[in-house]
């Protein structure tokens, strides 16, 4: 039983349950993990270890000497780069050097500074559909905001956010089904960022691309490939997870009326609720490459094996979280792994929290009463980063 569940496991194509999410399946795998098999072998993708328990995932993430991030996306996203994914796919000591270049724009203070723009942007989007009484919130808000904010921090036109989503989709999803089509789209992206980098060289601004262009590493300016690497990883990191976190949260709030009323009564609870949404509906797992023979929880791993950390299961591990399958908006402590732990902790953590809090607050303020449009389907996207991607809703029409 335990064997068969791991053997056929593919994190990119989990079965979707009656609730419209893969979590019933993840919970079943988690049960296998907690019953004494936290790690198993899958035969997909030429074979890889599936790590489904919390302590085991935590241990591996902390042990970056033995577990390389070179396989953080697995199978590897097709970004059109020769080199490994900037920051996320790098190991020490290189990772730390690059990371230090872009820490400042992601500081807690900088994140707070985007609050006003986030609220303005969210309200502008709501103005666009509030008179209709119906919309797909994933498309009309959740897809838009992360693209806009990423464009803003890269110093590029916010209207380009639309194209970014197409590019992240090509790198993260399309390449598995239509490699040629994906490569063409990724080519467009490289052209766009090449032009943007050239433009920023001529007219630097107060943005991340200009900042990285002006910085030095060991006394040298960064190469074009390195600058491109930053653009690509900030695009992937800024958009994929945030889109899905926001869509899934608004989907849950559409049918969980009690939870929604609590949020409206106590908006300050959204601070901890964002972290609980990230735990409960963990959007992604991450891969690692074993650098030397090792053992985790009694399982022997060989050099060059892949270990895929199933964070959606680990974040439901009762050894770490009491009542793991209950969404508790003010859960504390909440040591979930969705944003990583150790040296690869998500650099956008502070921005993501502000993004979640502001978008949900503004949405619930303008549209406190809404429900899923039962004549249509909500859609959960699979892949390495998962979550709701279509959430059609209805609500009392009229401007507020």
């Amino acid at each position: 039983m335990a064997d068969s569940m791991f053997t056929s496991f593919d994190h990119r194509t989990p079965p979707i349950g009656p609730d419209g999410t893969p979590f019933q399946y993840y919970e079943a795998l988690r049960d296998v993990a907690v019953a004494g098999n936290p790690i198993g072998w899958s035969e997909h993708h030429n074979g890889f270890w599936v790590v489904a328990g919390y302590p085991e995932c935590h241990e591996i993430m902390q042990n970056h000497d033995t577990f390389s991030s070179a396989a953080v996306t697995f199978p590897a996203y097709q970004t059109g780069e020769k080199n490994t994914l900037m920051l996320a796919g790098m190991d020490e000591p290189v990772h730390k050097k690059y990371r230090s270049l872009v820490i400042q724009p992601f500081s807690p203070r900088q994140a707070t500074d985007t609050e006003e723009e986030l609220a303005r942007s969210t309200n502008e989007l709501i103005d666009g559909f509030i008179a209709n009484g119906a919309t797909d919130i994933a498309k009309s808000i959740c897809y838009e905001i992360p693209g806009r904010i990423t464009a803003l921090s890269l110093g590029l036109p916010q209207g380009d956010g639309d194209r970014y989503r197409q590019w992240t989709d090509a790198m993260a999803h399309l390449f598995t089904t239509d490699p040629e089509g994906a490569a063409a789209i990724v080519g467009e992206m490289h052209e766009y960022f090449s032009d943007a980098i050239d433009e920023k060289r001529r007219n630097p601004g107060n943005d991340i691309i200009s900042m990285v262009i002006a910085s030095e590493l060991d006394g040298e300016r960064l190469t074009h490939e390195e600058l491109m690497g930053f653009c690509i990883v900030l695009l992937l990191g800024g958009i994929e997870n945030s889109v899905k976190m926001l869509s899934t949260a608004l989907w849950r709030l559409a049918w969980d009326v009690e939870l929604r009323r609590r949020m409206i009564d106590k908006p300050e609870m959204l601070n901890s609720a964002v972290d609980e949404f990230l735990r409960y509906y963990t959007p992604a797992g991450v891969g690692r490459v074993v650098l030397e023979d090792t053992e985790v929880a009694g399982v022997k791993m060989r050099k060059d094996d892949i270990a895929f950390l199933m964070l959606p299961c680990a974040n439901r591990d009762p050894r770490q979280f009491p009542y793991p399958d209950v969404l508790i908006p003010d859960r504390t402590p909440n040591r979930h792994l969705s944003l990583g732990t150790g040296i690869h902790r998500c650099i956008g953590t502070h921005l993501l929290r502000v993004e979640g809090r502001v978008v949900l607050t503004e949405f619930l303020r303008r549209i406190p009463e809404y429900e899923l449009d039962r004549t249509q389907q909500s859609v959960w996207a699979t892949g390495q980063v998962t979550g709701m991607v279509e959430v059609p809703i209805v609500f009392p029409a009229g401007a507020r």
């Binding site: 203070r109 972290d275 504390t332 909440n334 953590t349």
Partner: protein, 79 residues
């Protein structure tokens, strides 16, 4: 009564997740651009509510970077 802070953030372990200063700003604050944390207040022995929240912050830290200062009698708390 001593002026030594009784909660400490191990700077070698902290990665700047920011949960502690988000949830217990009375005790933790942002130390730098990295989002690293430090403590800026002493937790009063009699403030049970705050002590509970600090204990939650300790258990929330993804890096196990926060602890009651050793030799302090709260050391074993929340174990």
């Amino acid at each position: 009564m001593t002026a030594t802070k009784n909660v400490v953030v191990d700077q070698a372990l902290c990665q700047g997740h920011g949960k502690c200063y988000l949830f217990v700003p009375e005790v933790f604050e942002v130390a730098d651009d990295y989002g690293h944390s430090r403590t800026h207040a002493i937790v009063d022995d009699d403030d049970a509510a705050l002590r509970t929240r600090v204990n939650n912050a300790i258990r929330s830290c993804p890096e196990d970077a926060i602890s009651w200062r050793k030799s302090h009698h709260h050391e074993a708390e929340g174990a």
